[in-house]
Symmetry: C2
Subunit: 132 residues, 2 copies
């Protein structure tokens, strides 16, 4: 499923519990982020530590458990854990030995957000069909 409108694009990652990695920047013509859905099989690790030049990363663990490494700190993560890492953070991630870990990774330009939610949203008078 892909839909393209004047002010939106919609795509599908299929079932979120499916295998593999899905990246959305091109499919959705994202301009403020890159968003990916990722899976590490049980016991698998990202094979290197990395940092970023400009981007803040946020990892949202959707299912499974694992271990997160930043700058020598290591800690457990699991469903519902959300981790922000500064560009300079030296990071790595490993799935637990028992089950695959699925997670969303959001990359954004660090310090780029100006305002949000009630300071950025504007309520409109128009209605969807279900509210008319």
């Amino acid at each position: 499923m892909n839909r393209i409108g004047t002010h939106y694009t919609a795509s599908s990652a299929g079932e979120l519990k499916g295998p593999g990695r899905v990246v959305f920047h091109e499919a959705l013509t994202l301009t403020g982020s890159e968003i990916s859905i990722n899976e590490l099989p049980a016991g698998a690790t990202i094979p290197f530590v990395h940092r970023h030049k400009r981007n803040e990363e946020v990892y949202i663990i959707l299912e499974g458990h694992g271990r997160f490494h930043v700058d020598g700190d290591e800690f457990e993560v699991g469903e519902g854990t959300v981790v922000r890492v500064d560009p300079a953070g030296a990071r790595c991630l490993k799935a637990g030995d028992q089950d695959a870990m699925r997670y969303i990774c959001v990359q954004t330009e660090a310090k780029s957000l100006v305002q949000f939610t009630e300071n950025d949203g504007v309520a409109l008078e128009s209605k969807p069909t279900w509210l008319t």
Copy 2:
């Protein structure tokens, strides 16, 4: 669980399937996004249409089904559907009548991303304990 390091912050939304809304900007000291996890009970709707002044929004449907409205277009969404909406898009969202819909909403400054993934990441020589 909250952990704060020099270059990271970690927090927990608890079980992602839990009820209610969790916002992460303050808890994680996010600088490039606001990220929230949201639930609409079965049959419930966001009670108004809104646009944004500056922010691109991305909706990631985690579970359930529903209907998405942008600028008069309306379409079905469900687990794995990902929708980008420009600031100007007039948007609303409704859960299906059968079950609650949970979704992540990511707000970012539109057109702020400069580069990403292999163009922004830098592999490092350091190792986590599980790779030494």
